[in-house]
């Protein structure tokens, strides 16, 4: 048996290896230079959370000719107790929390705050607290308009006697206040 003395095969293998390395480094260099690693995944998660939040609030704010928005009833019926680490949910809003938890997927947590204007300032009251939101949390909101309790626009809405949302009356305005129901969502 005679072995052929030639280094061509080794040289070809080395060339192939060098070419592969060159291509890998070129692709790595380009992807790093863009300073983005799969940006779509993060954006997709944000959009998904936004959709969950919007859909949940819109569903609760639906109204028809026979009944007012459920969300509006919850806000008017808020007893003024703020949520926090000690009281995760304001007692009067436990039903709102239950409804939101049913709508949201199990791996999504949320906080709910009520924001309203008074005397040129915005006042913020936490009413549902499920933890400190991380940096990548998403905020969505829904506006709720409340009218003076005994005005001809109040319909069947009763404002809780301990509700701390103030009446911003002036002149002959029937408006009680506008409340921004803000929901902060994040994945567990």
């Amino acid at each position: 048996m005679k072995l052929i003395h030639s280094t061509d095969a080794q040289m070809n293998t080395l060339e192939g290896l060098a070419a592969a390395l060159l291509m890998i480094f070129a692709i790595l260099f380009v992807s790093k230079s863009a300073a983005i690693t799969m940006p779509q995944s993060g954006q997709f998660i944000n959009s998904q959370l936004q959709l969950y939040g919007h859909d949940a609030l819109i569903m609760l704010d639906q109204e028809d000719s026979n009944s007012s928005s459920q969300l509006k009833k919850y806000i008017a019926g808020w007893d003024g107790i703020e949520a926090g680490a000690q009281i995760p949910v304001s007692p009067s809003l436990e039903e709102l929390d239950n409804n939101l938890s049913k709508i949201m997927p199990d791996n999504v947590l949320y906080n709910v705050d009520l924001l309203y204007a008074y005397d040129g300032c915005v006042i913020e009251k936490p009413v549902i607290y499920h933890g400190i939101p991380p940096d990548n949390s998403i905020i969505v909101f829904q506006l709720v308009t409340l009218y003076d309790e005994y005005s001809n626009m109040s319909s069947d809405i009763e404002i809780h006697k301990n509700n701390t949302i103030p009446d911003t009356d002036h002149d002959e305005s029937l408006l009680y206040n506008i409340v921004q129901v803000r929901c902060t969502l994040w994945y567990t």
Partner: protein, 134 residues
Amino acid sequence: MVHISLSDDKNAQWLLLSGFMVSMVVIGLAILLNQAMISSHQSAQAEQDFPKHDILEMRSETFKEAIRLNLNNNTNSTEFDDTMSQYLENLDTLYLMHGEHVNITVVNTTNGTANALLVEFIDGTTTFSETGLV
């Protein structure tokens, strides 16, 4: 007389040419990949940055409440104007917190029986305005 003979071996030329071709392909692929990543990022970011929900919520809540006020037979025009004025004041305060400005103007229509509202939204980048009957 000196006779110069050129070699017939073309291996070096083929190596150079194939190296050139491979580098061109790699550069082309790299540019394509880069552009694809940047464009998808930019389009997704633009969609996120556009205040779609802020505008939709302002618009729908304003027209919904204005129509409700207008349809209520017990509400007179002074109450309508004062309520919308107070509504605008509170709404603008809430939106200013996001760096957005809203404006609502009650516009009387020509026949004098119905009102129209001009709603405007400005956040420095996006401007939106719409006039609708209520």
